[in-house]
Amino acid sequence: MKAAIREGPAPFVKPLQPRESTDALLRELVAHLRQNRTQLRGEWARRIRDAQLLTAMTEDEVFAEVTSVYDNYVEALETGTFEALQAYARNLSERIIPRGVETREVVGIVLLLRDLLARSLFAKYQDDFDKLNQILDAYEPAANRIANTVAVGFVQERERIIREQQEAIRELSTPVLQVRERLLILPIIGAIDPQRARQLTEQLLRGIRTNRARVVVIDITGVAALDSSVANHLVQTVEASRLLGATVIVTGLSPEIAQTLVTIGVDLGKMNTVGDLQGGIEEAERLLGYTVAPARDSQGSP
């Protein structure tokens, strides 16, 4: 679908038979846009501000981007090739996505420019309706295509980033680590959704089996929030581990999470909880019969 929008010719307007060639009209149009570059560009930046778009960027940054988008826009109109604009849109997206710029903002600014330029054409040719019609016939398809190119470029870039991040998260998300014989820790960081909870449980169960673990410490210090479904997943993980003969200790419940759990009434009575990871590991060692003593007692002073 995306490719179709990007590659296909603008399907919206079937141009009337132009009396002057489209090329000549576009040339005229481009000359007009070049001539009024400073004024139109300033006007555009002002309207972007008024519409509260690109609020994540400073005024100077907006102005710099506006300038290069404007020039790329005019160039795309002039040459009829979109590669440069496409590359620029991708590059721009790469820079602004981490700043939290939304799709609607990007679409918004491109449509603003389209609108702005159309208005300036109206103003210029208001006395010559016929000419205005021809100019618009030449302008509109190209402008639509440009808007599409930029918006699609942005969305594609965004999707690419999301895909990459998802993969990175999936790879990073579930390390099951053995800290001592028979003792595993499972640090959970970030948000847990049902799919991830399932994956966590499966990996933990496999880890218990392969490492012959007897105690597992699940540390949720890195979990910002728990809701009832995630809490239930946690309870399920604990029970499933018990079926394999492993005791689970949950550590790192923040005050906020503790409060949420009490408020929503999740029964954590079956769960063995300890304040922090250190305490959890100490408790686990106690269960396993380990005692940890400072080395100097047995080895003499260093």
Partner: protein
């Protein structure tokens, strides 16, 4: 299919080797409860390593078995539940509450040994 019940010193070991019918399960339960008394066993191990599914009837029967054997004065431990089996049991809400579990036969034996030690020390103290 009959499940063989082996006597190993103070313990009874029942290793389930293939999927059981409900009747087989009940039979196993009754046989174990009876033999615990006969051999004066202190513990029972039920090994389910070979099972790739444990349905609600099976887990309820195992739970009953554990409780009945408790009443007969011995401990029960279920060993060898596979990760996938554990996962689907929890999904179905079958958590074998109140029943001891262990990873495999070896762990089960050491669990029972520990239980006995606890009971023995308690006996000494009283």
């Amino acid at each position: 299919m009959e499940v063989p019940i082996l006597k190993q010193q103070h313990y009874l070991i029942a290793t389930i080797q293939a999927a059981l019918t409900d009747a087989d399960l009940l039979h196993l339960r009754d046989a174990l409860v009876q033999k615990v008394g006969k051999f004066r066993s202190r513990g029972v191990i039920v090994d389910v390593t070979a099972l790739d599914v444990l349905d609600s009837f099976a887990s309820r029967t195992l739970q009953e078995l554990a409780h009945m054997i408790r009443l007969r004065g011995a401990d029960t431990v279920i060993v060898g539940i596979q990760p996938e089996v554990a996962f689907s049991m929890i999904q179905l809400g079958l958590n074998l509450e109140g029943v001891a579990t262990a990873l495999d036969l070896e762990e089960g034996l050491s669990f029972l040994d520990k239980q006995r030690k606890i009971e023995n020390t308690r006996g000494l103290r009283n």
